[in-house]
């Protein structure tokens, strides 16, 4: 039951983009078409989950026993950068169709602060390995949900007549704000 609460909290209550302000660059940058948004969302779910689990192991078995906690930031970002490269090579060789649809998003993910953010949150909350896995997948899904919904809204907004100064990013941000307001209603339902 606790795990269920964890999932709901990560997707809706503490949505990674709309309540925690993580991953905003890709959130605004790749939400112009829903096809692109789905690809980016899947790539984030995939990488965030792997990164969180691997960084959890790095922290537990490498940094903590050797009293190297202050190297956390360097170690995590290097692990994520290497992981992204590895996933890219792996997909290219083994699952070419998946590489075709996700490949272009993978380089963008190294600097996606949602991925590093999720890994660090898992450490700060002192999650177990299973909780880390569940939390990271759910957070990734929360990111994907927000991204896909915003992309669908922005696709329709393309047809609307808006002042030229509002077009593009400003309107995207304001739409994100309204979505965030809707998600705000979940606040306090789970911590």
């Amino acid at each position: 039951m606790d795990y269920f609460v964890l999932v709901i909290a990560a997707i809706f209550v503490n949505n990674i983009v709309l309540a925690q302000y993580l991953g905003n660059c890709p959130f605004i940058g790749t939400s112009k078409e829903s096809g692109v948004a789905i690809g980016m969302g899947l790539a984030v779910v995939f990488v965030a989950a792997m990164a969180a689990v691997i960084t959890w192991c790095v922290q537990k078995f490498l940094l903590a026993p050797n009293d190297l906690g202050y190297l956390q930031t360097i170690a995590f970002i290097l692990v994520i950068a290497a992981l992204v490269q590895f996933v890219e090579l792996f997909l290219k060789k083994v699952i070419p169709p998946l590489y075709k649809s996700l490949g272009i998003f993978l380089p963008l993910i190294t600097t996606n602060c949602a991925v590093l953010g999720i890994a660090i949150i898992c450490q700060r909350e002192e999650f177990t390995l299973l909780e880390t896995l569940i939390f990271s997948v759910a957070s990734g899904l929360g990111f994907m949900l927000a991204l896909v919904v915003l992309a669908s809204i922005r696709e329709r907004l393309d047809l609307a007549r808006v002042p030229i100064s509002m077009k593009g990013t400003p309107l995207g941000l304001i739409m994100a704000g309204l979505m965030s307001l809707a998600f705000f209603a979940f606040k306090g339902m789970a911590s």
Partner: protein, 225 residues
């Protein structure tokens, strides 16, 4: 000397990081609940950005092109760790306020973007000027956004009560939705100002800077490619 000033001053208006380049949005939205937090975050970014530009520029002939992104990340991450330790020692309350966003400076597109787009191609002094200018522009933007949100959300400015009892604080502004809406409206105002300037020169109005990952030097290039 004039080129030094040019590189320094472009970060203050022409390429003002969060507004004109639309980079590094997460800290812009997350830490601007109060003006003080925005200012503190800006200071940390100035430190990292100026020093990472300095180091990357010094090492630009040594770093092999193929692994340059990884090298930039290591440089930025080392500096971020320095900032983390310095803040824990001398500004612990601020460190706690900024929370997870201090380590996340390392993935702020501005740091890697400037390393890739400027410092890796230019001499040391110019790169430091560029880093300082961009950092100061970033700090001004964050402090400005933080001031608006703090003033409307709590009636205070840098923790001092500015608006008295007649003002009913709008809590919306200090919560997540307010951050998005406030930044969106500011960006639109900025675009409207640019368009007004263009119209007075007889030019056609244009859409504002588009945010996609191509504006970020890091994302436009595949790591290791």
């Amino acid at each position: 000397m004039s080129s030094l000033w040019k590189e320094f001053s472009k970060g203050l208006w022409k390429d003002l990081p969060p507004f004109k380049l639309v980079l590094g949005l997460c800290p812009v939205l997350a830490v601007t609940k109060t003006a003080y937090n925005g200012f503190g975050m800006g200071m940390a970014v100035i430190f990292v950005l100026a020093l990472s530009n300095l180091l990357v520029s010094l090492l630009r002939k040594v770093i092999p092109a193929k692994v340059r992104i990884a090298c930039f990340i290591v440089v930025a991450a080392s500096l971020v760790v320095c900032v983390e330790l310095l803040m824990q020692a001398y500004a612990y309350p601020l460190y706690q306020q900024l929370g997870i966003f201090v380590p996340l400076i390392v993935v702020n597109c501005i740091i890697l973007g400037r390393a890739e787009a400027f410092a890796s191609k230019n001499p040391v002094l110019l790169s430091v000027a560029d880093g300082l200018g961009m950092g100061i522009g970033f700090t001004i933007s964050l402090t400005f956004l933080g001031s608006i949100r703090e003033l409307l959300g709590t009636g205070q400015w840098f923790g001092m009560q500015v608006l008295s009892d007649w003002f009913e604080p709008v809590r919306f502004m200090v919560e997540a939705p307010g951050a998005f809406v406030c930044l969106g409206v500011l960006l639109a105002a900025m675009n409207a100002f640019t368009n007004w300037q263009r119209r007075t020169k007889g030019l056609e109005a244009v859409q504002g800077p588009v945010h996609d990952c191509k504006t970020c030097g890091m994302c436009a290039t595949k790591p290791g490619a």
